[in-house]
């Protein structure tokens, strides 16, 4: 059975596409699927760093496309021995060196072997973006709850729908529920009202995610991280399960206040 190609895109840079790609790929592999993730951000590669595989790169995406190496030689197996492979991007070329057709062919070839092909899209709406969406059947939009990111996401949703990738789903990253409660940050309903797409999941802002990234381990491996748990739920939804979106409510009980006074750090919100 043929696999599915999903592109993770956003428009605005720095909202968490690469993190989402790494975690979704890892999560799907943890559930037993065959997954390959492709970094299509040619010239500014960072998916390999997030997954901790930067020291193992010999061949990259452009080598595969231009035929200098075989497909198997260009794929790097995941550190944790999951059924997860990475095709890194070259660092010395730029985004005009491949065109959409080539990437589409590659994705189709990969779909024969893998259940999921996840493409990490670069920021922007130019050639890199056009290349990345060429082979995809589904799109995942990543955004943060800020007006600038929402504006760019709106534009990109328009472009993605124009490219026949209908009904993209949305991940809202870096949600700070305390701010949402105060009214300082847009909440889920505001965002959905403006963007008019379905929500795939919300990922809370989490220090442990930054730590994990720096160590080269996708945060979904960390059992104590709330963002990792959020990504697990997102992966379950991608896989077809119905998982409810919990309310990321800040805890305001008495113990929390005591902890605040005493300076004990901990999760400041809970979820079902």
């Amino acid at each position: 059975m043929m696999g599915k190609t999903i592109v993770v895109t956003s428009g605005k840079g720095g909202v968490g596409k690469t993190t989402a790609t790494a975690n979704i790929g890892t999560g799907l592999a943890m559930r037993g699927h065959n997954v390959v993730v492709i970094d299509s951000d040619i010239g500014l590669r960072n998916l390999d760093v997030v997954m901790g595989l930067e020291n193992r790169i010999v061949y990259d995406l452009v080598d595969i496309i231009e035929g200098r190496c075989k497909l198997n030689q260009g794929m790097i197996r995941d550190k944790h021995k999951l059924d997860l492979y990475l095709i890194p991007a070259p660092q010395t070329r730029d985004k005009d060196c491949i065109d959409p057709e080539q990437l589409r062919e590659l994705c189709q070839k990969l779909e024969e072997q893998f259940d999921y092909v996840i493409v990490d899209c670069p920021a922007g709406i130019e050639q890199g973006f056009k290349n990345a969406i060429a082979g995809a059947q589904e799109a995942i939009m990543v955004t943060t709850p800020e007006v600038s990111a929402i504006r760019d996401a709106d534009r990109v949703i328009g472009l993605v729908e124009a490219a026949e990738l209908h009904r993209p789903k949305l991940i809202i990253n870096r949600v700070n529920s305390a701010m949402v409660k105060r009214g300082d940050m847009m909440d889920k309903d505001d965002i959905v009202e403006l963007l008019a797409v379905d929500i795939l999941g919300m990922v809370p802002v989490d220090d442990r995610l930054i730590t994990a990234t720096n160590q080269g381990i996708p945060v979904i491996h960390d059992p104590k991280a709330l963002s990792g748990a959020a990504f697990s739920r997102i992966v379950a939804r991608i896989d077809g399960e119905e998982v409810a979106i919990p309310d990321l409510e800040p805890r305001t009980g008495i113990m929390d206040k005591v902890k605040e006074i005493m300076g004990i750090k901990g999760g400041s919100y809970t979820h079902a």
């Binding site: 504006r151 534009r155 949703i157 328009g158 472009l159 403006l194 008019a196």
Partner: protein, 405 residues
């Protein structure tokens, strides 16, 4: 009130054109001009005037007589004469060959040669040729910082790259020697070289009592009145003190947008051809959200059954109806229909355009969440864009003022 065959007045942007008939005798023309000016004196304060003499060849004496007629007592200032290119090659048998005189010298009544710069013979257009504008720049010193014309206030004769023709006045020393007691005040004004009194906005027939200036607006404005009204709109920024605003229309009911006349076709980020030629009879129905970056051009009415997100544009020849939040840019009446309207369930945008008039919402900053959204209609009235609550087209209510077509 004006013998339109004899003398035509057109104007847009920063100059008015008085166009004199080719064929009538000069004395007729002069007396017609003087009659017109005496009737309309109270409408004219200061301004720069370009005189287009068409095919007629006038000698220096006649030109100065015209200039004098225009300038005496009215504060107008003749900066330029336009004529047909043919004129320069033919001789006037009565007056000998045309001598070429420096434009500056007309002001000083000296006897140096005149240069009559040629202009388009089409009497209806008032857009200034780019060549002419460069002539002016060469002849006269440019003054810096006098007018800040932002792009919205240019009429179509200008492109934003052209330096603004902010003053056509000469160097201060020569101006002081020129005729007219108003020229000194002219220089001091600095900020605009064209100051029109507010009485122009609404006035009645010239013979009426001047104390009734704030009565009904003109039903059929002549070209001069329209020109002057357009001039003020395109030069002055900010809401003009429209006296009708105080008569029964409260600001809460119908807000008027800061309105600028940007001329045709619609200025904006997109390039397009004018839409007027293929007016469609059917409306375009859009059922999905118009997202940022999407542009809809249609030569007819447009109905959107969803939101128009910020960054999206809808440009229609007819009306625009949005059954949702209008947060993007809507341009109704793109071919020039001033009766076009924009209706939305929530007119939350910062900018709309109807015909040539761009409106900028006054409530740009501040907490907009507290505003309860209500169905609104934007329309043109008295060269302003007004926004009123909308409960059905052509509804007439007894209290308040709603859009009544």
């Amino acid at each position: 009130m004006l013998d339109s065959e004899l003398l035509q007045v057109t104007g847009r942007g920063t100059n008015i054109n008085f166009t004199i008939d080719d064929q009538r005798a000069f004395s007729d023309v002069l007396s017609g001009l003087e009659t017109y000016l005496s009737k309309n004196r109270h409408l004219l304060s200061k301004g720069n005037v370009t005189v287009n003499v068409g095919q007629r060849i006038l000698n220096k004496g006649q030109l100065t007589k015209i200039k004098h007629a225009l300038e005496s007592g009215s504060g107008l200032h003749v900066a330029q004469f336009w004529c047909s290119p043919d004129v320069l090659s033919t001789d006037d048998p009565n007056d000998g060959s045309v001598t070429v005189m420096d434009v500056k010298s007309i002001q000083n009544f000296s006897s140096e040669p005149i240069s009559i710069s040629t202009g388009p013979l089409d009497l209806k257009t008032s857009t200034i040729d780019h060549e002419i504008s460069h002539d002016i720049e060469n002849l006269l010193p440019s003054s810096t910082g006098d007018i800040e014309l932002d792009e919205d206030t240019y009429s179509e004769g200008f492109s934003p790259e052209d330096p603004p023709i902010d003053t056509l006045s000469d160097t201060p020393n020569e101006i002081a020697n020129a005729n007219g007691p108003d020229t000194e005040a002219f220089l001091e004004s600095g900020s605009t070289h064209l100051e029109l009194s507010h009485a122009i906005i609404s006035h009645t027939e010239p013979q009426s009592n001047l104390g009734d200036l704030y009565s009904e607006p003109i039903s059929d404005p002549g070209p001069l009145e329209l020109a002057l009204i357009n001039l003020e709109h395109s030069i002055q920024n900010g809401i003009i003190d429209d006296p009708d605003l105080h008569n029964g229309i409260s600001n809460e009911e119908s807000d008027s947008f800061n309105t600028y006349n940007v001329g045709f076709p619609s200025s904006g980020e997109t390039e397009q051809e004018p839409l007027s030629l293929n007016r469609q009879n059917e409306a375009l129905l859009i059922k999905t959200t118009c997202r940022s970056g999407e542009v809809v051009h249609y030569a007819g009415d447009v109905v959107v059954l969803a939101d128009v997100n910020p960054g999206a544009q809808i440009i229609a020849d007819g009306d625009i109806v949005v059954f949702g939040n209008l947060r993007g840019f809507a341009h109704a009446g793109a071919a020039g229909d001033l009766q076009a309207t924009i209706i939305a369930l929530d007119l939350d945008t910062s900018r709309v355009q109807i015909g040539p008039y761009v409106g900028i919402s006054p409530k740009i900053s501040g907490k907009r969440r507290s505003r309860r959204p209500e169905a609104s209609i934007a329309y043109i009235r008295r060269q302003h864009i007004f926004v009123s609550p909308f409960k059905g087209r052509y509804a007439k209510y007894s209290g308040g003022t709603l859009y009544d077509g």
